[in-house]
């Protein structure tokens, strides 16, 4: 990370004076990309290393095994507590005397605005074009299992948050690593917290920033025609700067209000397309199930579908990554378990509902080239992904798929993508900042340095090419999961104790609904 940022800054400094000419700008982008891929490649390779003798990345196994263990260990909490999660969000159990504090609904939607975004639109398209429709099946499985990981981390996030004398609340994996490990008398909590914070900064700059800027730019150019990513990046950087440095809350609060609306609209549009093509839904599910186990001739076959599905689900809902523990920890509750329960709705909404919608629309729309005679998808010339009708990938592919239903949809999607990207950036700038201040201490100057670096990376992200950015973003987010899940294993007995105590009191009637 450090190596990269130094190099990146140096390149920027060298190239900035020559940016005037468009030709030069292209070469700048090329250079950014080369340096980027070159300096982060080793880390990406390490994270995505295959298990010995297989072509299965160990990190995917790591996430799935963890989510499965949590699912079993907590007795299928995602099924058991699903209904309770909904009544908590509705406020049935909120103390009226706490009115004015952060509600379960607010904590959930804040966390969701950080996860619902390009992962659901672009990430799914990537998963399906590489892994085939079968990837959807594994994505849903990963989403369902991920609910248990989310439950674990968010319960801990609330339990070990810091409540400062000035009344502000902040929490996250770094705090449960330190305090939880101390409570269980385990060594290494502080070390894990530091490593986690470093990766969180990387994740904030990668998946929470560059990937967003990159895909927002891709979506805009699809409508306007090609132009330099530096322009999009700079505009984004300025607006984000105004919000996070300038403290212009109105921009953020407008986004916070528009994003949920966009999310609903996206799902409605997807549903309309599915309803119009209702005769193909059965076929699409057939493709998804068949592809899940056979691969339907896709690159990497069955394993390819599985890896892509799990990877994109993890990237989209961030279960086990630790970011949600930061977002959920400001809620007002006396019972940490309640927020854990609420948080398990997050992967459900994000992955099981929204990602599946995208996947179904892409599958049904016919943008993937299918060979009916051989019964397989045709691959592109490089053999790395399914051939698409117009050669598009990422968010452009989703856009093309939706355009098959509504020709004007790419415009709406462009607005949605820009807003999603923006709200994700704002959320991740906060997560990154929490990690940054954990490492370097609170203070106006240290915070400003991080915020400036964050804005700079928006420009880099918009200018670099998708491949390098997506690899780096994935690698950093998964690196967070390596550290976070290690801590979750060590602390899961605490969560279990909390969970048993809470549910037994709920059953005995000690915890009751507050109704007027």
């Amino acid at each position: 990370m450090k190596r990269f940022s130094t190099l990146g800054l140096a390149t920027a400094a060298l190239s900035l004076p020559t940016l005037a000419a468009a030709q030069e700008a292209v070469s700048f982008e090329q250079r950014v990309n080369d340096i980027f891929a070159g300096s982060t490649g080793w880390f990406v390779n390490l994270i995505f290393m295959n298990l010995p003798g297989t072509n299965f990345p160990w990190i995917v196994m790591w996430l799935v095994v963890a989510a499965s263990i949590f699912t079993v260990y907590f007795g299928f909490i995602q099924i058991k507590a699903f209904g309770h999660a909904i009544s908590l969000v509705k406020g049935d159990y909120s103390d009226p005397n706490d009115a004015g504090e952060v509600s379960h609904f607010q904590a959930l939607t804040t966390a969701l605005s950080g996860t619902v975004g390009l992962g659901n639109i672009a990430g799914v398209a990537v998963a399906i074009s590489i892994g085939g429709p079968g990837a959807t099946f594994w994505m849903i499985v990963a989403g369902l299992l991920g609910m248990a990981s989310k439950f674990t981390e968010c319960t801990l996030g609330v339990k070990y948050r810091n409540e400062f004398p000035d009344g502000t609340v902040s929490g996250g994996p770094m705090y449960y690593m330190v305090k939880g490990f101390k409570e269980r008398k385990l060594p290494g909590g502080r070390f894990l917290a530091i490593v986690f914070s470093i990766f969180t900064i990387g994740g904030a700059l990668g998946g929470g920033n560059m990937f967003q800027a990159n895909q927002a730019h891709a979506q805009i150019t699809q409508i306007t025609g090609d132009f330099s990513g530096l322009i999009t990046g700079s505009i984004f950087a300025v607006v984000v700067f105004l919000v996070i440095v300038g403290g212009i809350k109105s921009i953020a609060s407008v986004t916070e209000k528009v994003v949920p609306f966009m999310g609903v609209m996206y799902v409605v549009a997807a549903l309309v397309i599915l309803i119009v093509n209702y005769d193909q839904i059965g076929w699409a599910f057939g493709q998804i199930f068949a592809g899940a186990f056979t691969g339907l001739g896709v690159a990497g076959g069955f394993v390819g579908a599985l890896i892509q599905g799990f990877k994109r689900a993890a990237f989209s809902n961030e279960a086990g990554v630790g970011s949600a523990a930061i977002a959920h920890s400001a809620v007002r509750t006396k019972e940490p378990v309640t927020e854990g329960v609420v948080s398990l709705l997050e992967p459900f909404i994000d992955t099981v509902v929204i990602c599946t919608m995208t996947a179904l629309v892409i599958t049904i729309s016919g943008v993937l080239v299918w060979d009916p005679q051989a019964g397989v998808y045709l691959l592109n010339d490089a053999g790395t992904a399914i051939r698409t009708v117009d050669g598009s990938s990422g968010v452009a592919l989703t856009s093309a798929a939706f355009a098959s239903g509504f020709s004007w949809f790419p415009y709406v999607l462009a607005v949605a993508v820009v807003l999603f990207a923006f709200s994700t950036m704002i959320s991740w700038s906060y997560y990154g900042l929490k990690a940054w201040t954990y490492l370097f201490g609170e203070g106006k100057t240290t915070e400003l340095i991080f915020k400036l670096i964050f804005c700079f990376f928006i420009i880099v992200g918009a200018a670099a090419q998708l491949g390098a950015v997506i690899d780096f973003s994935d690698a950093m987010i998964f690196a967070m999961a390596v550290v976070n899940i290690t801590a979750l294993y060590c602390l899961m007995p605490i969560v279990k104790r909390e969970m048993n105590s809470y549910f037994s009191r709920l059953k005995s009637g000690e915890i009751v609904k507050h109704t007027d």
Partner: protein, 146 residues
Amino acid sequence: MSQTTLIVGLDGSEAGNRALEFAKTRAGLIADCRIMLVYVIEWSPFSFQTAEENEKRHARREQELQLAHERVMNPAVEATRAEGLTCEGIVRHGDAADILESLAKKHEAAQIIVGRVGAQGIKARLFGGVTGRLVAGSSVPVTIIP
């Protein structure tokens, strides 16, 4: 005879003060009467907030409560008590109409007295202002002071 409770909605405006004046006159005519002053800070648990706003929410809430007490509630309660009337003040976050109604129910109030505030903005036009919704949903008589 049991105590009569009059609930008065304050909002820091002239209309609220007129409602309080009216309540005081009424209270003076009733033998055993208490005036319950209520100030509601508009807030919804279903609004959307950024992580940073959430982090500072608890501190902000304390501030809002303190300001409401200092600027509106305490002076009003003191002035009312100074006239020899029984009075208490409540500051809450939430929806004004809901809170006035639920307090009226809880304390078995004789009536709710509020000032008439003109409808503000599109939301008020669509869903009715606080007074409109209060009248529509209240379980006790509501007096609106023009």
